[in-house]
């Protein structure tokens, strides 16, 4: 069994940034093909996904069900566009099949199903991911597996009570191997996050977790936080990412209604050009 990524002491930050740029390109291609999508969230989480899949996680795309793989649980199913981009970049999917994103009959639906290679859960109903991750971490520990469990969830998802049931459980069961990655991008379906959820990191600390809050679009900060989360101390770990929706494409970064993006066909080319210019 070949596993990817034995985290080195000195990660190649430039290489990871390059991966993140590729993910953003793939996402814009998918969104323009479909004409719409949850692109803002995807662009926002791209840096973290690049750090996870090309630095931190242990997995083998040739054997998606490898028992000792690290699990990445995407709780926010509508971030599917980002998930498919990273799965293609990592070798689970072909880049060519990304063109079917969101189309009828595609196995790359706009919200994740668990029959897509590399997707670990049905992710559309928010508030399910952290608890399932708790169960996986308990089970892997029972088996003596070295595998760790990483769960992405969102700030809006913190409004679901089930998230806090799971947070209590994770601390109770002392799940060292569980890392929650909370994407705080400040938006939800109706606009800006409506319910007071801050301070997020302090809440997790109060629930018995170790928690850190970082700029979720700062690659060095992300890999440092992931490295710190490897330290065994009997507590689950929370990494609170402050991300910018639409990151890398200034027009989308400035857009007020960013939860679901639908623009005219010719505008997608302009957005793609912005990504390249902005990056350059």
């Amino acid at each position: 069994m070949t596993s990817r990524n034995h985290p080195p002491e000195h990660p190649d930050i430039d290489a990871l940034k390059s991966r993140a740029l590729n993910l953003r390109r793939l996402m814009l291609d998918m969104a323009s093909g479909k004409g719409e999508g949850y692109i803002a969230q995807g662009l926002g989480i791209a840096d973290c996904l690049a750090a996870l899949y090309f630095h931190e996680l242990r997995y083998d795309p040739a054997t998606p069900k490898w028992q000792d793989r690290d699990r990445f649980i995407l709780s926010t199913g509508h971030y599917a566009i980002a998930m498919y981009a990273v799965l293609a970049e990592a070798g689970y999917l072909s880049v060519r099949e990304l063109a079917s994103y969101g189309l009828n009959g595609s196995h790359l639906p706009m919200s994740t199903f668990d029959d897509t290679p590399g997707v670990e859960m049905v992710g559309g109903s928010l508030g399910h991911g952290l608890g399932q991750s708790v169960g996986m971490a308990i089970g892997l520990r029972l088996d003596g597996s070295p595998a760790r469990v990483f769960n992405e969830l969102s700030d809006g998802e913190l409004q679901e009570g089930s998230t806090w049931e799971a947070a209590m459980g994770a601390a109770t069961f002392k799940l060292d191997s569980l890392v929650a990655i909370i994407d705080c991008n400040g938006i939800q379906a109706d606009g800006p996050v409506t319910v007071k959820i801050d301070p997020v990191a302090d809440k997790f600390v109060a629930f018995g977790w170790e928690a850190v809050e970082i700029d979720g679009n700062d690659m060095q900060a992300i890999v440092t936080a992931l490295a710190n989360a490897r330290q065994p101390n009997g507590k689950p770990k929370a990494i609170v990412l402050r991300t910018t929706p639409g990151k890398g494409v200034p027009t989308l970064e400035r857009r007020e209604r960013a939860h679901f993006v639908r623009v005219a066909n010719d505008e997608w080319d302009a957005l793609k050009a912005e990504l390249e210019t902005h990056h350059g």
Partner: protein, 329 residues
């Protein structure tokens, strides 16, 4: 663990235990004792509860396998998520709490975390229907209606301790998520050692010719008791026990129903959305239209009170059953 004292005591009256078991042998905690025995053979089995370990009979498992037992606290959504997560890394997760908390409180988690994910989660839901006096908050009188609406979910309503013990073992090999209306405490032993639970197969528990009773859960036990009483008055009723609600044994029910001019359907559930609805749908679809009496609960929330009082008040007790047979011969 047969309790003959319960026989001489005549009735069991603990909360959530069954009444009208005069003369029946009972067995203590058949769910938990069987699960503990099975788990000795199947290391992949884990057990969970949401603060209802004592009241769902899973403690024998905890005592035998403390490292494989998890009490998640009063958090039913978490119970089902954790169970689903455990299943995804290869475990068979047996979960327990009360039916009401699984169904009303955590419905989306049964549907999405478990059933949709084909998670190997076996839910043993305590106190289904009207089997306690704590009022509507604790009486899962619409659980079959809710659960049958979920795709890829198996639903089982065992009759007695004999069947429950077989179900505990059988569900380990039924893929996906299973919802079992569990019986707890001193559970009557109604069925003989020759009884065999088969998934999706209704079983004739008593032959007769005057009227056909189609029932599920412990109402099948009551159906036999009522049929025995009616037989003393020369009325010979047959009883078909539908132990599996989903997948529903449509062919078996139709074959049984076609033999009788009049039918009685009995369930520990509202008469809407449960067994009676399933039977009526099957009969109507097959063009088999017959007079049919429903024994079950009205569409209502129910009072607190003793089990005897509630069953009499809501007309699901043994006398009501006997009357239904005698009036529909």
């Amino acid at each position: 663990m047969v309790d003959t004292a319960a026989t001489t005591a005549g009735r069991t009256r603990g909360m959530g235990e069954l009444i009208d078991v005069i003369g029946k042998t009972t067995e203590l905690a058949p769910f938990g004792t069987t699960l503990a025995a099975l788990a000795a053979e199947r290391p992949e089995i884990v057990g969970l509860t949401a603060d209802m370990g004592r009241y769902s009979d899973i403690l024998p498992f905890r005592e035998a396998f403390p490292d494989r037992f998890f009490n998640v606290g009063m958090a039913e959504q978490d119970l089902l998520m954790i169970a689903a997560g455990l299943s995804k890394v290869g475990k068979i997760a047996y979960c327990t709490t009360y039916s009401v908390f699984i169904t009303r409180r955590a419905y989306d988690f049964v549907a999405i975390s478990c059933a949709h994910s084909k998670a190997n989660v076996k839910i043993f839901a305590g106190m289904p229907g009207l089997v306690n006096g704590y009022g509507a908050t604790h009486q899962a009188t619409e659980d079959l209606n809710m659960m049958r609406g979920i795709a890829d979910l198996t639903i089982i309503d065992p009759c007695d301790a004999t069947e429950l013990k077989q179900v505990v073992r059988a569900v380990a090999d039924i893929p996906g998520t299973v919802y079992v209306r569990s019986l707890r405490g001193k559970v009557p032993v109604e069925l003989g050692n020759d009884y065999r639970f088969e998934l999706g197969k209704a079983k004739v528990l008593r032959e007769g010719s005057a009227v056909g009773i189609i029932s599920c859960g412990y109402m099948s036990m009551r159906a036999r008791d009522a049929a025995d009483i009616a037989a003393g008055q020369g009325i010979d009723a047959a009883v078909l026990h539908v132990g599996t609600i989903k997948p529903f044994d449509r062919d078996g029910v139709l074959a049984f129903a076609s033999r009788f001019d009049r039918l009685i359907v009995a369930e520990n559930h509202k008469t809407t959305g449960g067994l009676a609805s399933l039977v009526v749908e099957a009969l109507y679809d097959a063009g088999l239209i017959k007079p049919l009496v429903k024994i079950g609960l009205a569409d209502s929330f129910f009072e607190c009170g003793s089990q005897e009082y509630l069953e009499a008040k809501y007309e699901v007790d043994l006398p009501r059953f006997v009357r239904a047979i005698l009036e529909n011969k």
